[in-house]
Amino acid sequence: MSPTNYLLLSGLLFTVGAIGVLVRRNAIVVFMCIELMLNAVNLSLVTFARINGQLDGQVMAFFVMVVAAAEVVVGLAIIMSIFRTRRSSSVDDANLLKY
Amino acid sequence: MSTAPDTGGNVMLLVLLLLPVVGALLMYPLRRNVPAAKAAAMATALLEFVLVVVTWVGYSTDAASSGERFQYVFSVPWIPAFGTHLAVGIDGIALVMIALTAFLVPGLMLFAWAEKLPEGRTASGYFALLLATEATLMGVFTATDVFLFYVFFEAMLIPMYFLIGRFGGPNRQYASVKFFLYSLLGGLIMLASLIGLYVTSADQLGAGTFTWSDLQSIAQSTPTSTQIWLFLGFFVAFAIKAPLVPFHTWLPDAGAEAPIVAAVLLVGVLDKVGTFGFLRYCLPLFPQASQVLAPLVLVLAVIGIIYGALLAVGQKDMSRFVAYTSIAHFGFIALGTFAFSSQAFAGATLYMVNHGLSTGMLFVMVGLLVARGGSRLISDYGGVSKLAPLLAGCLLLAGMSSLALPGTNSFVSEFLVLVGSFPREPVATIIATVGIIFAALYILWFYQQTMQGPVRGNAVIRALEAGGVGGPGAMIDPAVAAERGAGFPDLTKREIGVLAPLVVVIVVLGFFPGPVLDVINPSVQATITEVGLPDPVPAGGVVGGVR
């Protein structure tokens, strides 16, 4: 199978994720969409590693995973505490950090 | 080829630099004990003055004449990667400027001794800031490393910002922020030029340097186009600092809102860093650019002379009035600086000192009036000479010095500037000479408004009533008021102590400028050599045929 298909899939996943981030209000869903985008990038990194026959892309994908895991921890904690104080997990309700 | 030794040297200037810092830091533990703090600050300032006198005595004019550019040189590497040095040294021009600073500060402290400060402010903080300002001024005049100069140039703003912003008049917030932003803007533009200069030196010398002497040595070989850009960067910074029209509008605000002692330091010394910068940095480092752009500066200078004078007459506020007269005077200094002759350079340098003295005294007189009347408005005063003849006499002397009456210090400098500028710039000089009529106009106008005529003016009347002389609407017998010293008293002993040194110096320098000129002249000659434009030679026949 041509590696191009993996790239197409990756682009598709990324787009889905991006749209999800933009249109959904639920923080958990937005969060998952971000994960989706990260993994789409991971997929393309792995694909490029395969195409070029080098391991750099694989290594970077691992880095991204580690960072994403850390991010999930912090992010979910924030969402939890926001939910506790505001009784809502909508990102539009947490708009205190403005001008 | 680096001319900056890396092995230290004479520590005198370092002591001059650090002594006020130590004094300022000493204010913190003494903050609860105000008398002790004042005494310590005064002792520091006096010691500093004594040390400067020692420095002056040790300064050799012979060595300066025989080509030694700086004396009391001290240099150690600072950031070797960038080629910066902690390098200090003085030539005659810097020497007279630090002497002026050290001379003014003790007097100003005496003036501020019993000043009523805004609520919540302590005298120890006030005096600490004064000493800090003195320290940065010492640094800015003694630095021989351009980067070090820049650091002090910016550091100068900090104590002055706090002096204006914390101890100033009602509109102090606006004034201090305006002052700070304006100066910072100029400073940042200068920083860009500074980096450009460093890159240029790296091109020409192989390794970049900030040492003034090294940069000067490559000045003649730097292409004129490069010089012009670098010159403009420095020029904007100095033109804002000096200030030249049209960069001047921060000065009236800052001068008016600053407490008097800060105003004296600001207009008397700190602004001179601008004109000092022209002489020390713009001309020797960018000689071709200076000559190419001289007409621009001269136009600004001449506009400033007339414009400042006319605006001075239009002012309602005494401090703003003095500030605008200073703008006119800075025009004279700029004219002398960009006329490229030894007389004009020497005149401009001497003018910096003399203007510090005469304007300083004018500001002090304003401060004395405000201390009595509580108002800065010119129209609130009138006929004061009846009540306080000594005060009026001192004001007149300060005014006469400001309008450069022969026999006062300023005449010597103004004469040198004009006579030195005339051969090269006849038109600008003629306009500047007409400016002396305006100088007489604004000084005499001010004197007539506040001092002459019948006793009048809200501030005076209020003060007299508060002193128990005359009631609302009652005729005031000035003789009675003067007799009782009530309401609007004449100078006190402390105030005489502030003014007497100024009066003596103003008159003595009018008749015997020799000692100061002897110090200035060799350095001026060195500057002439660095610019590479020989003195115009008197040539019979054609007017202005030199150019």
Partner: protein
């Protein structure tokens, strides 16, 4: 023209010439600083210092007389004053016949006026003498003036001249404004200083030009090398110097300050604004005679300025009722004569100085007499309130009368010798110049006789109009003779007015001055024969006296000024519109310009700065609205930004 004499170093008493001005200067400093302690004796210190100067001046004069004329020009260098590059201004003195003549005039007349002032400035009766510090202040300022004036005439270079020049300006400013609580005095003082400064600009520019061209400012060197310069440059220098002279000497077009200067105490008017300071312009032109010798055009301008001024002064003098202002305009007119004289060149330099000296005597005497009258009349100056005072104050009357006769050129009194000599020299010019100069001078002599006779009649003769009036303070007038300390100097000056002309011409003033001014050239081919001129002048003067007698003397003088009057009188009463012109051409536009500039500076220049600040502030206030706090809108803008960057990269890559 003879070769300039060799300059020798001063010896003997002359080497101490600096004491001449140092003594009064020191006295001034002591009086300024001593405060109330000196109130009781300060005036005597002032008198003593000027007398000491005078004594030293006499000693130097006698010493100089003892040497041959060509050795009378000496210099003494005190120290180097201003030195930079090739410029080296010496604080040096030049002692030569011209400066010595002035030294004697300044200290001699100055001493008399100092003595007179002891009485004139005495505190009013009833006041505690030690409580009044105004007399001490007065003497301090008067001493300062004497010192500055001596520096002016003794300096051996132009910068020192300028020092004295502005120094006397300061003293004049202080003394005109002496009665500080009078707004008019303060304004007059300011006006005097400002108009003088206009002249000073001319003098300063002349100095710069000399420096540019010759590289020296020392008289000796300048005069030795002035011939190297081109005609245009010399003309420019002469005109600039003339501008300086016009300012200081109250010459057209800068004459308007001098009458206003009468706001000062009368001794000041006598010393500064009649005898000495205002003649500094004449001194300047006489001193720089080697320059003027080279420019015929320059001399013509000088002479024309003199002619215009002497006519203006004489015409306006006829219309005023203020006794001091009449004398002031008389001074303007007489200095016009002197300027005319020095404008005649070698034929007139010495005559100008001659008239300056005799004028110093009789005009100082006239002013002191006027002061005595004012002293008697509660400081009233309006002659319409006087009348018949001759009987009440005989000494004043006689001394004033002698001064009057000297001024109008009564035969064999001072003015007769000096003024007639000028008019003769004026007629001695060729062509139109002779007619214009001589004619105007003769006409003005007639006018002088008219206004002075009018003044005499209104003040000393006729009905005692003051009997029916009360002074402004409500008291009745009680005219009385002044104390001896005042009449003494008046008597001495009157003696001078009578004999100075005769004595000075008999002992040969012209030969004495020759080392400084060159030999006096006798004109041989004038437009009128020499013998005729004195008769002509005498006839005009007699006519002036007669007309004055017919117009003023035979009719009672109205106490109120008659209105309306004919156009010429109206114009003369308004100073021939000089002040109106100054006001409408300079003052008003100046005020408007200032206001406009203040507006421009606040709204324009500062407005730009504040506008920039406000613009930045306002802009960011709007921009910060973009920070809505909605995470998703941030995400959208990030996405948009990324897309834009990628698109830009691609576009660059593939375009």
């Amino acid at each position: 023209m003879t070769a300039p004499p060799e300059v020798l170093p001063a010896g003997g008493a002359a080497s101490a010439a600096w004491l001449l001005f140092a003594i009064p200067a020191l006295s001034a400093v002591v009086l300024f600083l001593a405060g109330k302690r000196a109130n009781a004796w300060g005036h005597w210190l002032g008198v003593g210092s000027v007398l000491a100067s005078f004594a030293l001046g006499v000693v130097i004069f006698v010493q100089t007389l003892g040497v041959a004329p060509e050795q009378r020009t000496t210099e003494v260098s005190l120290y180097s004053w201003i030195a930079s590059g090739t410029l080296d201004v010496d604080f040096g003195l030049r002692i030569d016949p011209l400066s010595l003549t002035f030294v004697l005039l300044i200290t001699g007349v100055g001493s008399l006026i100092h003595i007179y002032s002891v009485g004139y400035m005495a505190p009013h009766e009833g006041a505690e003498p030690s409580s009044d510090s105004s007399r001490r202040r007065f003497f301090a300022q008067l001493n300062l003036f004497v010192a500055a004036m001596l520096v002016l005439v003794l300096g051996n270079n132009f910068v020192l001249l300028y020092l004295g020049w502005e120094g006397v300006g300061l003293a004049s400013y202080l003394l005109i404004g002496f009665y500080q609580d009078r707004p008019s005095a303060a304004t007059a003082a300011k006006k005097a200083f400002l108009m003088n400064r206009v002249g000073d600009v001319g003098l300063a520019l002349a100095i710069f030009l000399l420096w540019l061209e010759l590289g020296t400012l020392q008289y000796t060197e300048v005069f030795a090398r002035i011939g190297e310069l081109g005609g245009g440059t010399i003309l420019a220098i002469t005109l600039l110097l003339l501008l300086g002279a016009c300012g200081k000497s109250g010459q057209f077009p800068l004459q308007a300050w001098l009458p206003d200067a009468m706001e000062g105490p009368t001794p000041v008017s006598a010393l500064i604004h009649a005898a000495t300071m205002v003649t500094a312009g004449v001194y300047l032109i006489a001193r720089t005679n080697p320059i003027y010798d080279l420019s015929a055009t320059g001399r013509v301008v000088v002479a024309l300025i003199g002619v215009v001024t002497l006519l203006i002064g004489a015409i306006i003098g006829c219309a005023y009722d203020d006794i001091k202002k009449v004398l002031a305009y008389s001074t303007v007119s007489q200095i016009g004569y002197m300027i005319l004289a020095v404008g005649l060149g070698p034929a007139g330099y010495a005559l100008g100085i001659f008239h300056l000296l005799t004028h110093g005597f009789f005009k100082a005497g006239l002013f002191l007499g006027a002061g005595s009258v004012m002293h008697a009349m509660n400081d009233d100056v309006n002659m319409r309130h006087f009348g018949g005072l001759g009987r009440r104050m005989p000494i004043t009357f006689v001394t004033f009368g002698l001064g009057y006769l000297a001024l109008i050129g009564f035969p064999f009194l001072s003015g007769y010798f000096s003024k007639d000599a000028i008019i003769e020299a004026a007629f001695g010019q060729e062509g139109w110049q002779g007619w214009v100069y001589g004619g105007a001078a003769t006409l003005a002599a007639g006018l002088t006789a008219f206004y002075m006779t009018r003044l005499m009649i209104m003040t000393f003769f006729g009905e005692e109009r003051w009997q029916k009036l009360t002074a402004p303070n409500g008291e009745h007038y009680h005219p009385h003779e002044s104390p001896p300390v005042m009449t003494g100097p008046m008597i001495l000056l009157a003696i001078g007015s009578v004999f100075a002309g005769f004595v000075l011409s008999a002992v040969g003033l012209n030969q004495w001055l020759a080392p400084s001014l060159g030999e006096l050239e006798e004109s041989t081919h004038g437009v009128l024969p020499h013998a005729l001129v004195p008769w002509l002048v005498l006839a005009f003067s007699a006519l002036g006296v007669l007309v004055a007698y017919l117009v003023v003397g035979r009719r009672p003088t109205p106490v109120e000024r008659p209105e309306p009057v004919s156009l010429p009188v109206r114009a003369a009463r308004r100073d021939l519109y000089a002040n109106a012109v100054n006001e409408s051409v300079i003052e008003r536009p100046g005020i408007w310009l200032t206001r406009a500039l203040v507006f421009l500076d606040n709204r324009g220049v500062d407005g730009l700065v504040n506008g920039l600040a406000a613009g930045l502030g306002g802009g960011s206030a709007r921009l910060r609205r973009l920070q809505t706090g909605f995470v998703r809108s941030y995400a959208l803008s990030m996405l948009g930004g990324s897309v834009f960057v990628v698109a830009a990269l691609l576009a660059v890559r593939f375009a």
